[in-house]
Amino acid sequence: MLKNRIIPCLDVKNGRVVKGINFVKLKDAGDPVEQAKIYSDGGADEICFLDITASNENRDTIIDIVRKTAKECFVPLTVGGGVRTIQNITDLLLAGADKVSINTAAVKNIDFVKEASKKFGSQCIVVAIDAKKVSENKWKVFTHGGRNKTDINAVEFAKKVETNGAGEILLTSMDKDGTKSGYDVDLLKAISKSTNIPIIASGGVGTLDHLYDGIVKGGASAVLAASIFHYGEFTIKDTKEYLKSKNIPVRLQNA
């Protein structure tokens, strides 16, 4: 049976983990490579890096981090943030990323998704959709890390990225992100039902029950969270054991 994936996400800015603290074992709390290794050793099903570096000059920093991480972590590695060109994707994949996540560039030009999935295969193209609720059961797509509003309907856009070759959708609720009040389950459900590719839930996790809701109520194939893991509130192991106790299929470590 296919297992639901638990994915810790590391926000990286200028080569350092943002929000990354509290691991007793860590020598350097801000080192993304070391933190990724801890997650991987702890049984994470995938590792996600989100590069939130504002300037283009520092793009090489994330490449270097990916290169080092890929030599130590033997689980899938997804990298997003500022992926705008085929060359960006090539650079990340060559450095050892398994998938790239495309956000703003997909909204600006859907052909980019098509071209990328044709060139590299759908298996490595994730489209990240940031959505915000505008009325009951209606969401609009946001870009540039949630700063810019578009008039694009999120559900329609999700269908469009599927048609254009995306292998997965990383779906973040802008309303919920950072609130610790749980995923936008209605959003997840709406998009998961209208598409036939796996959905990764993101934005709003504060408790382990939120992960449960994302999978059971939202229909997500995978759940992504950042702060509950970074601040050491829960380990990956705690998380999986809890979900297993609630009959969610998960991969327990080394099994």
Partner: protein, 208 residues
């Protein structure tokens, strides 16, 4: 021992290189190349593959003499060869991804889209799934039945002779996820991304 990872410019093979490098450390001489001479003189071959069946076959064929030298090494000289993902699928006679495409024809069978029961199951089949061992296979030494491996694919290899199947996985139906026939090995899942179990499989292959 010389082990060659065939680099035929198809898809991303960095993870394959990283994991084999990790396992091979100091024990094995690892080459990443499409150089025909090196392939012919290597003791073992790893054939990765990402993207579509058609794009992988086209890439193999675009390198002059590559298919023939792989055939000579694996089929005539019986050197162990491990196909990963589309690398395994290409063993088949024919594949139907993108367009009907002739495969290497090393193991009779076809590669078709996974029947996802009219959308009841999402495709690609992405994530960790258990493998159900079907027979003893050298690359599964010390791998427990129902171990988890990382999958990402929408197409499956259906061999004519079921005795080549060394493992299945359960998704929308039972999917062939590993084969062993003489010196030919293949995994539909990605051992290079399957954590410690995956590294163990790589180690088993390198120790053959």
């Amino acid at each position: 021992m010389n082990v060659t990872i065939v680099d035929y410019q198809s898809g991303n093979i960095s993870s394959v290189i990283n994991s084999f490098t990790e396992v091979a450390k100091g024990k094995v001489n690892l080459e990443v190349t499409s150089d025909i001479k090196k392939i012919k003189s290597s003791d073992k071959i790893v054939l990765p593959g990402q993207g579509s069946f058609k794009s992988c076959v086209d890439s193999l064929n675009s390198i002059n003499g590559l298919v023939d030298s792989l055939k000579e090494t694996a089929m005539t000289n019986k050197k162990p060869l491990l196909g990963i993902c589309v690398g395994l699928q290409m063993f088949a006679d024919i594949g139907y991804e993108e367009a009907e495409t002739k495969g290497l024809g090393w193991i009779s069978g076809k590669v078709s889209k996974i029947n996802n029961q009219k959308g009841k199951f999402k495709l690609p089949h992405i994530g960790w799934n258990e493998i159900e061992l079907q027979k003893e296979s050298k690359i599964f030494k010390d791998i427990k039945n129902k171990s988890h491996m990382y999958f990402v694919h929408s197409y499956e290899f259906i061999p004519e002779d079921k005795s080549v199947i060394s493992a299945l996985t359960d998704y929308s139906s039972k999917i062939v996820c590993a084969i062993e026939k003489d010196n030919l090995f293949g995994t539909q899942f990605h051992p290079e991304k399957s954590d410690k179990n995956g590294l163990k499989i790589i180690d088993n292959f390198l120790k053959l």
